[in-house]
């Protein structure tokens, strides 16, 4: 295990914990993206550039975007309900 690989492993371990311990969904989506970047780094140091390439797009763009869109929809939905209750 080289130094870079060790750094990658530690980063992934810390990042995974960070994702789990972030409670707020919005913040969690962003932390998840950063965690994905560390995974990309890990894959790259372990000589799997193919996986790293797809991981970087999926984790940094694909997944957070879907979560963010869903969160926005939910908050809009709740606001609507609030309005109805007040009327």
């Amino acid at each position: 295990v080289s130094a870079l690989q060790a750094i990658g492993l530690v980063l992934v371990a810390a990042g995974g914990g960070a994702v789990v311990f972030t409670r707020e969904p919005l913040r969690q989506a962003l932390v998840l993206g950063v965690y994905g970047l560390s995974l990309t780094f890990l894959f790259f140091t372990f000589q799997a550039p193919d996986v790293a390439l797809s991981e970087i797009v999926i984790s940094a763009v694909g997944l957070p975007l879907i979560v963010l869109a869903a969160l926005r929809k939910i908050s809009a939905h709740e606001r609507e309900r609030e309005d109805e209750r007040q009327r």
Partner: protein
């Protein structure tokens, strides 16, 4: 219960780990065979692509249709319901300026679009030569088109990548991948037999059907991801429930 199962699991794991080959010294027979066969007999230099689109092309067909089916599922669930309607384009342009994005971000994202699209295309086309291939390149392509969204032009994105076009492209990619497999059956000896001339390793057109497979998968994946993203973004930004009268 865990106090009982935990130590048992730990013991089994330790037993299993003891017999693993040490780090960096695993030379499995399959890996050696793949490294030997693909370059010599298929003229491909990227073993991962060679594996995906040649040795186990049939499995990739399965994966292809998993993606296809799941995107179809997303599109089905996120369709417009009867009491919902979409904000019209003009209305939206008036009211909604997506994100209060700074000018710098907009400029940068717009500059990113051609770069990402070009890189995605490169990764797809050079699948059998350098790391990457249909799936990886397709995702990068989709991200490139999506950068238009970051530039604050969601509706431009909708115009650029119309729903019908995306669906057609996805279906086309999936179908042509299957058809290439059938071509193997027709012109070669088996489903997904590599029936095209192999060319010379390192050339753009080499490794027989691999570049074609890569291209088909690239188109399908890019369209599939864009379709999923636009479905979600439509829901978030455009669709709203009609007020009851």
């Amino acid at each position: 219960l865990f106090a009982f199962a935990g130590p048992g699991l730990a013991a089994v794991l330790v037993l299993a780990f003891v017999h693993l080959p040490s780090f960096g010294h695993a030379h499995e027979i399959v890996g050696l065979v793949v490294n030997g066969v693909e370059l010599a007999q298929r003229q491909a230099t990227d073993m991962v692509t060679a594996l995906n689109f040649d040795l186990r092309a049939f499995d990739t067909l399965g994966e292809e249709f998993i993606l296809f089916a799941s995107v179809a599922g997303v599109a089905l669930i996120l369709r417009q319901l009867r009491d919902e309607s979409e904000t019209t384009l003009e209305e939206e342009l008036e009211r909604h300026r997506f994100a209060r994005a700074s000018d710098a971000l907009r400029m940068f994202s717009l500059a990113l679009v051609p770069l990402l699209v070009a890189f995605g295309g490169y990764v797809v086309i050079h699948g059998q030569l350098t790391p990457g291939g249909g799936f990886q390149g397709g995702v990068v392509l989709a991200a490139g088109v999506l950068a238009v969204l970051l530039a604050g032009r969601y509706l431009a994105l909708r115009v650029l990548a119309p729903r019908l076009g995306l669906e057609a492209a996805e279906a086309l990619g999936a179908a042509s991948y299957g058809l290439i497999g059938l071509g193997g059956l027709l012109f070669g000896s088996a489903f997904f037999d590599n029936f095209l001339p192999l060319g010379q390793a390192g050339h753009l057109l080499s490794a027989g059907t691999m570049p074609l497979n890569s291209l088909a998968v690239g188109i399908e994946v890019a369209a599939a991801f864009l379709l999923t993203w636009t479905e979600f973004l439509d829901q978030a930004l455009l669709v709203h429930r009609d007020r009851e009268p």
